[in-house]
């Protein structure tokens, strides 16, 4: 089988699924090719944070665009991805970190994001479950969380209902320019053609960008996730720890059915060829200490499961997004460095706009792939989490 469409999307994570959905809404014919099942890798295994505070500032317009879509996701898709605007609170353990929370709150205000700074006493009053080591907090009242197992498939299947061809278990082997079109070849011997191709292949995308002379230093890591047995619903906001110490940077949320999902700290190994990522037992034990510092009551619970997934990271900890610098008609959105879930709907919407109209109202220039054009593929320094 083969096919022709206005756009071929390669990779059915939340970026590709959302882009497919929004391209369909713009009346474009789309073929989405997913090697496994949609939303199965990083998009389906992440923490489920719908968080704007703490982001790289130039990313906030995109995060805001995405947050607006999260708010009407059910109506758009006709499916519930369990988004809850519960608020997101960042806490810190050190007096010297309070300044960073304060200056971040000031900086994001010009992007329309209003944060509430909370003293230790205010924290204690409003969120009594937070541990005594927390010296201050920053609340983003309109952020929250959603179910990552449901969100990307909801976009993909909604796109399918609106006429997109969503093809699962179809692995793309090669993309090349052939006349006006791109020719996309699959492992099963199919060939698809389209004048535009969007690469949203996550941790696997570097191989495809390299085909067009745009190699990028993308590496894979696995988030270290765990979930507790269900208990009474008591923790409404997402809680994250702000710290320069990697181990301390854990985050947690409680789902309304009672389980507490958490992650953070050190990352684990991710094998992109085997398509498996693992939780290191040492990390599980490290997280125990840190998660109990953030919310001491968790020390009385047991975890019932851990999991990981395969996330693509770039050395400067921001994604690649926008048009190719080499091949007109080719677009990228990948390498979201472990913070792509919240952005997913906005990225899909912005990329659809960019492909459809040639421009997007949301600034995405900082994420252009050309920033790696001169840089060596290895040895780049990893920047601290923004």
């Amino acid at each position: 089988m083969s096919g022709h469409a206005d756009v071929i999307v390669v990779g059915g994570g939340i970026m590709g699924s959302a882009a497919t959905f929004f391209l369909r809404r713009r009346g474009r014919s789309v073929i989405l090719l997913e090697r496994g099942l949609v939303g199965q890798q990083a998009s389906g295994t992440n923490f489920g944070n719908v968080r704007r505070q703490g982001r790289f500032l130039p990313q906030l317009p995109l995060a805001n665009r995405s947050r607006a879509i999260w708010g009407r996701l059910n109506e758009l898709l006709g499916e519930d991805a369990e988004f809850l605007a519960t608020g997101h609170i960042r806490i810190c353990y050190r007096r010297e970190d309070i300044g960073a929370l304060e200056s971040h709150a000031r900086s994001v205000e010009e992007y329309g994001l209003k944060l509430e700074l909370l003293s230790q006493n205010m924290l204690r009053d409003r969120f009594p479950f937070i541990g005594p080591e927390a010296v201050a907090g920053s609340l983003s009242p309109n952020d929250g969380h959603a179910n990552p197992r449901l969100a990307a498939p909801a976009f993909a299947y909604a796109a399918r209902r609106q006429g997109a061809q969503v093809r699962e278990n179809v692995e793309v082997l090669n993309i090349e320019k052939s006349g006006e079109d791109f020719r996309v070849e699959t492992a099963s011997g199919e060939a698809f053609r389209a004048p535009a191709v969007l690469v949203t292949a996550g941790a696997w995308a570097a191989r495809l960008s390299a085909m067009f002379g745009e190699p990028v230093p993308l590496v894979a890591h696995g988030p270290q996730m765990a979930v507790t047995e269900p208990v009474v619903y008591a923790i409404r906001p997402v809680v994250g720890v702000y710290s320069q110490v990697t181990e301390e940077g854990v985050y947690l949320r409680q789902v309304s059915r009672g389980n507490i999902v958490y992650g953070g700290g050190n990352r684990g190994p991710a094998l992109i060829d085997a398509r498996r990522a693992y939780v290191k037992p040492q990390n599980t034990l490290r997280q125990f200490r840190q998660i109990s510092r953030a919310v001491p009551a968790l020390g009385a619970l047991r975890i019932i499961r851990v999991w990981s997934g395969i996330e693509g990271y770039l050395p400067d900890m921001i994604p690649i997004m926008g048009p190719s610098a080499k091949a007109p008609g080719l677009f990228y959105a990948f390498g979201f460095c472990g913070h792509g879930f919240q952005l997913g709907p906005g990225v899909g919407d912005a990329m659809a706009e960019l492909i459809d109209t040639g421009a997007t109202v949301t600034p995405i220039e900082p994420f252009h792939i050309k920033r790696f054009a001169a840089a060596p593929a290895v040895g780049a320094q990893a920047a601290a989490r923004p």
């Binding site: 047995e229 034990l285 109990s292 020390g299 047991r302 975890i303």
Partner: protein
């Protein structure tokens, strides 16, 4: 040269024989036992203040049980025995264990996992009512605490354990309301040539059946379970099945159910051992060679944790696994007469396949399970919810069905519901069972306290 460090997980017949063989080779293995005092499930020991003679607990197997116990006791001081300890994860050559809140990271050069088995369960409407137990749990109550699970106990399911536990209850003075077997007489007739590989065992099984009948216990085969009736407050009140086209209602206040056994393979999964689909039993099993080596170097699997071949086979496999480990570590292995043991094991494996044929997993029942029947107890997921997840978005694989429906996501991680869930997914997708895969095992093997910590650990 430093002594190689070998860890044995499990202190049932396989684990104890493995440890004994390692000690005979001059090693000091570590034995990890989830239980308090060894013996495993089959030869579970009664608490210290109980004084029943071995014959009262293990009947015809008392000699073997006592021998395994005596060996474990004799090994004291020559092994490091960690009781009440859960092995919850493996990372390369490190085993992670927890005892209460005390966690430890144990390096090993070889790991022999003899994790045993649990009941294989096909749900029936009402199986989550108070008073419904697995056959294994019903037997533990009797073996360990000399308790019955109810005053009038109905036994439902299939497999040798169905008749054994019912017989044990009857012998111990319990009231057996009925024994209801989902397998048909024709299954057992067809299996006879294979079961004849162990004539003594076959004769013993038949004697249980005769004895139950002599006591006037209704024993029906070829039944189709309909429902367990009762309420959360009153518990079980009645079990109904269909037998030869008519409904049969059994008044009872407890039900013991199970459909033969399934190996506890989580550690093998976490060690990343290869699994293969086993068509006769319709499940995925770890791949092992004839000496219990897995696909992962220095990881060995023995006993019912690999194949349900019973306690005698487990003792042999424990010895073979230990010898294989010694050999792979470059150590001289004691002469255990491996060639003869392998021959005996082959005969036992023939019998194992006979049991699977005689008491088949009643997979067809999954398709007829009503939509409102609970499949996953931990997450309370019904057959209907699981079918909807498969049909709505095309989840042709169990991990996908898990992601959409939460089936198998709870405390037991699908150890109890996984096989039935796979059958429901296959049926709803119209796909062969082997194509829907198996639930990926994740740590911890069982729930792990967040308060766990240990010296030298993060």
């Amino acid at each position: 040269m430093a002594e190689p460090h070998v860890i044995v997980v499990g202190a049932g017949p396989a684990g104890v024989r493995a440890a004994e063989t390692l000690v005979a080779a001059g090693l000091r293995p570590m034995v990890i036992d989830e239980d308090a005092c060894g013996g495993g499930q089959i030869y579970r020991r009664q608490p210290a203040n109980f004084a029943r003679p071995a014959e009262a607990i293990y009947a015809s197997e008392a000699g073997k049980a006592s021998a395994v116990h005596a060996t474990l006791d004799r090994l004291a001081g020559r092994i490091d025995y960690l009781s009440n300890t859960l092995a919850w994860n493996i990372d390369d050559r490190l085993l992670y264990v927890v005892n209460g809140m005390a966690a430890a990271e144990l390096p090993f050069d070889a790991l022999i996992v003899a994790a045993g088995a649990t009941d294989r369960v096909m749900p029936v409407p009402g199986w989550t009512l108070p008073g419904v137990f697995t056959l294994g749990a019903a037997q533990i109550a009797l073996k360990s605490q000399a308790c019955a699970i109810g005053r009038e106990v109905a036994f439902l399911g299939t497999g040798p354990l169905l008749y054994l536990v019912a017989h044990q209850y009857a012998t111990a003075g319990g009231n057996v309301a009925a024994v209801l077997d989902t397998s048909a007489k024709a299954d057992r007739v067809a299996a006879l040539p294979m079961l004849a590989a162990r004539p003594a065992l076959l004769a013993r099984g038949l004697s249980y059946l005769r004895d139950l009948r002599r006591r006037g216990v209704p024993v029906l085969d070829g039944v189709v379970p309909a429902a367990i009736a009762g309420s959360q407050e009153a518990g079980v009140q009645c079990l109904t099945v269909r037998h030869r086209g008519r409904a049969v209602a059994i008044a009872c206040d407890a039900v013991a159910m199970g459909h033969h056994l399934r190996p506890e393979t989580q550690l093998a999964d976490l060690a990343r051992c290869d699994f293969r689909f086993d068509p006769p039993t319709r499940q995925w099993l770890p791949v092992v060679d004839r000496d219990c080596r897995t696909s992962v170097k220095r990881i060995y699997l023995a006993g019912d944790g690999v194949r349900i071949a019973g306690a005698d086979a487990a003792e042999i496999q424990g010895r073979l696994a230990a010898c294989a480990a010694l050999q792979d570590l470059g150590r001289a292995a004691p002469d255990i007469g491996a060639a003869a043991l392998r021959l005996r094991l082959a005969r036992m494996d023939w019998f194992r396949r006979g049991l699977a044929r005689a008491f088949p997993w009643p997979w067809r029942l999954a398709a007829s399970l009503p939509d409102n029947a609970v499949v996953c107890r931990c997450e309370r997921i019904t057959a209907g919810e699981l079918r909807a997840a498969v049909r709505a978005n095309g989840a042709p694989e169990v991990n996908r069905a898990k992601a959409f429906s939460r089936v198998g996501m709870g405390r037991c991680q699908g150890r109890y519901c996984g096989h039935a869930a796979a059958e429901i997914v296959a049926d709803a997708a119209g796909a062969p069972i082997e194509s829907v895969g198996r639930l990926r095992g994740q740590a911890p093997v069982k729930p792990l306290p967040i308060a766990a910590k240990g010296a030298g650990l993060p």
